[in-house]
């Protein structure tokens, strides 16, 4: 079976114009394949470019060179040259993202944050609300917090709002940036279950996860990123 996601020879530099145009090479020649129902975990030390890769797949970072393709049953989509307006629909319907940090919008309650991805697809508020509450309850977020904006929540509480928001849309490709970093054992188990269920319905997951226990329970494969660092080490000598 054809992979859902194929990445070929992906490169990423950051050029800092304010610093005399220094180019920081963060990714060199990365290639990978990801199938439906599979969870691939990126491994490697902090700063090696794991989050960078997720952000490139979500359109936050531009790729320098290379290709990122999503293969549908009726054709493929090249993400590296997607017109800007097309990203809105790709994010809404295809690529989901559980970020490490919650971007807080003033006055918007935790419940509404979680409902948002469904509302954006035109779902009925009542249905979206029900699904959101089911997820928040499953993640053991106390009910009294549901109607409050998550700005003042603890790290673990905010993370659970993020997870609920990321999973509610059941995107075919889901990017996970340290989804369990601030969770206790009970809630880590819930997230592991949710990942397993996502795999069972054919979702492809690409994640970053430093927790050995969670990693061993969800990862079908590990992709160590060290080898892609070669470019950075060699270029550092020329600076």
């Amino acid at each position: 079976m054809k992979a859902l996601l194929t990445i070929e020879k992906l490169h990423k530099d950051f050029v800092l114009h304010g610093q005399g145009g220094i180019a920081i090479k963060v990714m060199h020649d990365l290639s990978l394949e990801l199938h439906r129902g599979e969870c691939l975990v990126l491994a490697g030390r902090s700063g090696i470019g794991k989050s960078t890769l997720l952000k490139m797949l979500h359109g936050n970072y531009l790729a320098e060179r290379g290709s990122i393709r999503i293969h549908f049953d009726d054709g493929l989509l090249e993400l590296t040259d997607l017109p800007t307006h097309a990203w809105h629909r790709v994010r809404r319907d295809v690529v989901g993202y559980v970020s490490q940090f919650l971007r807080v919008v003033p006055r918007v309650s935790a419940r509404e944050v979680v409902m948002e991805p469904l509302l954006a697809r035109g779902a009925y508020a009542q249905d979206a609300r029900q699904r959101a509450e089911t997820l928040l309850a499953r993640l053991n977020l106390p009910e009294r917090l549901w109607s409050l904006p998550p700005g003042t929540f603890s790290g673990g509480e905010q993370q659970r709002v993020n997870i609920a928001e990321g999973f509610i849309g059941e995107h075919p490709l889901l990017l996970l940036d340290e989804p369990t970093a601030s969770l206790d054992a009970t809630n880590r188990d819930v997230v592991v279950e949710m990942i397993s269920e996502a795999k069972a319905r054919g979702c492809a997951l690409l994640g970053i996860c430093h927790d050995e226990d969670v990693r061993s329970r969800v990862a079908d494969r590990l992709l160590p990123l060290d080898e892609h660092l070669m470019a950075r080490t060699s270029s550092q000598e020329t600076f």
Binding site: K2, L4, F14, V15, L16, H17, G18, R36, G37, K55, H58, G59, N60, Y61, L62, F72, D73, D74, G75, L76, L77, L82, P83, T84, H85, A86, W87, H88, R89, V90, D93, V94, V105, P106, R107, V108, L119, A120, P172, R201, G202
Partner: protein, 291 residues
């Protein structure tokens, strides 16, 4: 025929263990096409060679410092000031607005003033930075909201009043104050009233010039949240001018970064703010103070 059918053995029913995954339809209709728009008051003053397309349902933010030409551009797009060169094409819902030669499209500065005013009344809305420019300060809040409906031929007093009350509530104003004049309202309340007055006719496309400028931070947050919700509920397309990147991040899907009259970078809002490519965008993003 799908892949699964092709791969299944002859004569056997195809087994679909996973639902078919279809490529999403990425084409959304264009609402506004802007081609080579130039309007210069002096060298680097005004805007120059601007090109972009606005798609239905998009919120496009135009960011840049004072004097970058963003407000000039907005005035041109909104039909308030003719460009020196270039063309703005709008694709109206109401076919009677379109050009005689080309069905379904309209050259904003090729049509007469009367038709341009009709367009502003029927399909567009404009939110000024200063609510005093968008409201009639001497007449009641209800009359301010009703006026745009009346311009569309609505004459039923009861319905106009009901719409007034309904929109006062939508923008979180006390409907009890429907008979009070806007000059008795605070700045934030006036701005919300201006938004109600603009949106009551259900425009397709709304132009906003610094809608939260000049408001206290706490009032800004409330207004932003309200705008976000209304944009989604009404399926509005918006062109928003702001110098505030936080406002742009909260409201816009896509950004144009302007400097000295030109667009120096265009892209997805997140991408411009997280991975700006142009030296000026990098400077702009790195200069934001985060509390």
């Amino acid at each position: 025929m799908t892949r699964s059918v092709l791969e299944s053995p002859v004569g056997e029913k195809p087994v679909l263990d996973k639902p078919v995954l279809e490529r999403p339809d990425l084409d959304s209709p264009a609402l506004l096409d802007v081609e080579s728009i130039t309007r210069l008051y002096g060298p680097g003053k005004g805007c120059e060679a601007i090109d972009f397309r606005l798609h239905a349902g998009e919120v496009l933010g135009i960011v840049g410092e004072s004097g970058s030409g963003k407000s000039t551009l907005l005035r041109i797009l909104a039909g308030l000031e003719a460009p020196d060169a270039g063309r703005v094409t709008y694709y109206p819902l109401d076919r009677s607005l379109s050009d005689h030669s080309r069905e379904g499209e309209l050259d904003l500065y090729g049509i007469g003033d009367a038709r341009r005013r009709a367009l502003l009344r029927l399909e567009w809305g404009l939110v000024h930075q200063n609510p005093r420019d968008g409201l009639r300060m001497g007449v009641s809040a209800g009359a301010n909201i009703g006026e745009r409906l009346m311009a569309l031929g609505d004459r039923h007093y009861g319905q106009l009043r009901a719409a007034g009350c309904d929109w006062m509530r939508q923008v979180e104003l006390d409907a009890e104050r429907i008979d009070d004049a806007p000059q008795t309202f605070s700045g934030g309340m006036q701005q919300r009233l201006q938004i109600a007055r603009t949106l009551v006719t259900r425009p397709r496309l709304v132009f906003m010039d610094e809608p939260t400028g000049g408001l206290d931070v706490s009032v800004q947050a409330r207004l932003l949240d309200m705008l976000r919700t209304l944009v989604r509920q009404l399926g509005l397309s918006v062109v928003l001018v702001t110098h505030d990147l936080a406002v742009a991040r909260l409201l816009s899907h896509r950004l144009l970064v302007m400097r000295q009259g030109r667009v120096v970078e265009a892209g997805l809002t997140d991408q411009i703010l997280d991975d700006p490519q142009h030296a000026y965008s990098q400077l702009l993003v790195s200069s934001v103070l985060t509390p």
